[in-house]
Each structure stands twice: as structure tokens, then as C-alpha cells.
């Protein structure tokens, strides 16, 4: 309990620090610390799948994205709106305080035995042949959500690419990275093989324990971003067919298998019985690669 209160205090301090920070750099550094503590908080709550995702995305990829953005903006700041007046500010504060109280009350007033779906998941989990209940939910019971989510990532990549200037938009994504020397170049060569092993491990244990495709994909994306940032592996042009196929293959395969399920069992995204585990694994591998490529492209940003 003391541990939880200490952690909550730390998270609140960092969140307040982000909001009152004067420089963008400081705010981003605080935000990275916040992501890290949030991952620990998810661990305390016992939501280990979420903790892994937050560690990978919140503490890892976000840092790369936001620090690069802060750096670019410190050179060429963006237009700011005029700050709200004192009265508006007070009104906004009051509104947000009311919102906080309402959400807090909702948390405290939840019924003691909340109506959950845990029992139904437990009852039907054997059918999916996966030991990790969250993976069962993601791939079987709420497969449509997962499909839509991977589609959202593809859409996000398309949006980002579309923000590139008109001439030469099909070129490599992001700004061209200067070549690093010394320790960073060494790290960029040493870490990716190790990271890929870790990603494979996290993916594989995800079948029966917390872990799985999102977490593995975020690690893989980081392992692509590292040599890119060090300037030793320039990104391929957006127009490259292999890149486009990699990004789209996961969702496309998921839809194809879903249609197969519709033909065999009469329901879209239903897994034909007897082949659940191999089919789910194949789709998960394809989704992992697609999500990893999409996440990396998103962090690199549009061509500048």
C-alpha cells in the first residue's frame, strides 16, 4: 500500500512537471520518466500485458519520437495560439476539477462484484488453445478490435506519408540521419541482434504468459530505428514495394483468415476448430512484422 502511494505520488509529480514545464525538452524528459513509472504502476495493478506495452511504447518509442520533435521545434518553433485569459482559465480549471471528481466518484462507486467477462473468458479459453487470457481476447473473442487496430496503424502510416512535401514524397521517410561514429555506431551494430532475440522471446511467451505481438513489435521497431538513428541503415523509400507489402500483409492475412472462417464456420473471424493455434500463430507473426514496420515508419515521420 505504501509502495502504491509512493508510486502514485511520483507519477503525479511528473505529470504536474510536464504541465508546468517551460521548455519542450524538459517536458519531454519528464514525460519519459512518467511513462516508466506508469509501466511500474501497471505491474502493481497486476496487468502485466499492459505493463509490457507501456514499457515498450511509453518509455521507449515515445521518447525517440518526442525528443526528435522537441529538437526540430527548438530550431523552428510552431505557431502558438494566444493564451486564454484569467477567467477562461479559471472556468477551464473548474470544469476539469468537476470532471476529475466525477470520474473519481465513478471509480469509488463501482459495484463490489463488478459485472465482468472474466468468467466467460475462463470458460471459453480452452477453445483458443492459448494459455494467455489476454491473447485469447485479442485474437479470438475480440478479434475484430485487433483487426481494426492493425488497420488503424496502416491508416496512420498513410496519413503520415501524406504529410511529406509534394516533390519526392515517395522517397525515404523522415529526415536523413547523419552517420554516427564511436560508441553509438558500435551500439547500433551490437544491440539489434540481441533485441531481436528478446522480441522473439517476448512474442513466444505471449502464447501462455503476458507478452505477445504488440510488445514484440515495439521492440522490433526500436531495433530498426536504432541503426537508422545512427545513420548506418538508411530507411528504404516509401515507394518500395517490399515495404508496402510488409506494412499491409498482417491485416490482409488477418482478413483473409477471417473470411476463411466465415466460409468454414459461418462467422467472420471465427477460427476453424482444430486449427486454432497454428492459424493464430501464423496471423500473429504476420501482424507482428506489420505492426513493427508501421510503428517504425510512424516514429521516423514523413519525409522532410
Amino acid at each position: 500500500m505504501i509502495v502504491d502511494l509512493a508510486l502514485v505520488g511520483g507519477i503525479l509529480a511528473l505529470a504536474l512537471g510536464v504541465l508546468v514545464a517551460r521548455q519542450a525538452f524538459a517536458a519531454v524528459a519528464l514525460f519519459i520518466g512518467y511513462g516508466l513509472l506508469l509501466a511500474l504502476a501497471w505491474g502493481r495493478l497486476g496487468l502485466m500485458d499492459v505493463a509490457l506495452t507501456e514499457a515498450a511504447i511509453g518509455a521507449g518509442l515515445s521518447g525517440v519520437l518526442l525528443l526528435a520533435a522537441a529538437r526540430r521545434l527548438s530550431a523552428a518553433p510552431a505557431q502558438e495560439d494566444s493564451p486564454p485569459g484569467r477567467v477562461t482559465r479559471a472556468l477551464i480549471g473548474a470544469g476539469c476539477a468537476i470532471l476529475t471528481c466525477a470520474v473519481g466518484a465513478a471509480v469509488l462507486l463501482l459495484p463490489d462484484a463488478p459485472p465482468g467477462l472474466a468468467a466467460e473468458v475462463a470458460a471459453n479459453q480452452r477453445a483458443t488453445a492459448l494459455g494467455n487470457p489476454v491473447a485469447s481476447v485479442l485474437m479470438a473473442f475480440r478479434g475484430l478490435d485487433t483487426l481494426l487496430e492493425s488497420a488503424v496503424l496502416v491508416l496512420a502510416v498513410i496519413c503520415t506519408v501524406a504529410l511529406a512535401p509534394d516533390q519526392g514524397w515517395a522517397g525515404p521517410p523522415g529526415a536523413p540521419q547523419p552517420q554516427a561514429d564511436g560508441p553509438l555506431a558500435l551500439l547500433a551494430r551490437l544491440l539489434p541482434p540481441l533485441g531481436i532475440v528478446v522480441a522473439a522471446h517476448i512474442f513466444w511467451i505471449g502464447v501462455d504468459a503476458p507478452g505477445g505481438k504488440f510488445q514484440a513489435a515495439a521492440i522490433l521497431a526500436a531495433m530498426w530505428l536504432l541503426p537508422w538513428m545512427a545513420g548506418i541503415a538508411p530507411a528504404p523509400p516509401i515507394g518500395t514495394r517490399a515495404l508496402r507489402i510488409t506494412v499491409a500483409a498482417g491485416p490482409a492475412l488477418f482478413i483473409a483468415v477471417g473470411l476463411l472462417g466465415a466460409m468454414l464456420t459461418g462467422a467472420f473471424l471465427a477460427w476453424p476448430s482444430g486449427f486454432e493455434k497454428p492459424l493464430i500463430l501464423i496471423v500473429e507473426v504476420a501482424l507482428t512484422l506489420s505492426i513493427a514496420a508501421a510503428l517504425a515508419l510512424l516514429v521516423m515521420g514523413p519525409r522532410t
Binding site: 524528459a29 519528464l30 511500474l40 514499457a55 518509455a59 521507449g60 525517440v64 554516427a180 530505428l225
Partner: protein
């Protein structure tokens, strides 16, 4: 023994929270990023101790993920700028 390890995890977490002060105060960007990196390492240590206390391998996996990805903020900070 496991309760001892739990206490140890709590002690490490306390040093993590003290380190927050440096992230909050700065004054320089390098200070904040370096302190954030220390938060990562301390978090990893706390997770390892806590995982050993409750006998869970998942905590070790979480620490492993952090160990691979926590340095990325620092790397993004120290790399050469485009056009530098």
C-alpha cells in the same frame, strides 16, 4: 526471504523516487535525460527484486523489455542532429 526481497524492492523504489527530483529540477537537458536513464536502471532493479519476491518470471520479462528500450531516450538525445 521473499518478504526481505520485497523490502529490498521497496528500498530501491525509494531511491528511484528520490532520483525524480533531479528529473524535475534539471537544470540542464543532459541532467534530466541522465536522471531518466537512472530511473530506468533503478526500475529494472526494483522489478527484478519484486519478481524474485513473488516468484514471477513475468517481472523479469518486463525488466528485460525495459533494459532493451529504456536507453532509447538517451540515444535519441545524444545522436547527431540531422544537418549537424
Amino acid at each position: 526471504m521473499s518478504s526481505l526481497l520485497g523490502v529490498a524492492a521497496f528500498a530501491v523504489l525509494l531511491t528511484l523516487l528520490l532520483g525524480l527530483v533531479r528529473v524535475l529540477r534539471g537544470p540542464q537537458a543532459a541532467d534530466r535525460i541522465a536522471a531518466a536513464q537512472l530511473l530506468g536502471t533503478t526500475g529494472i532493479a526494483a522489478l527484478l527484486l519484486w519478481g524474485a519476491a513473488v516468484g514471477s518470471a513475468t517481472h523479469t520479462d518486463l525488466a528485460l523489455t525495459l533494459a532493451v528500450l529504456a536507453p532509447f531516450a538517451t540515444i535519441a538525445m545524444v545522436r547527431k542532429e540531422p544537418g549537424e
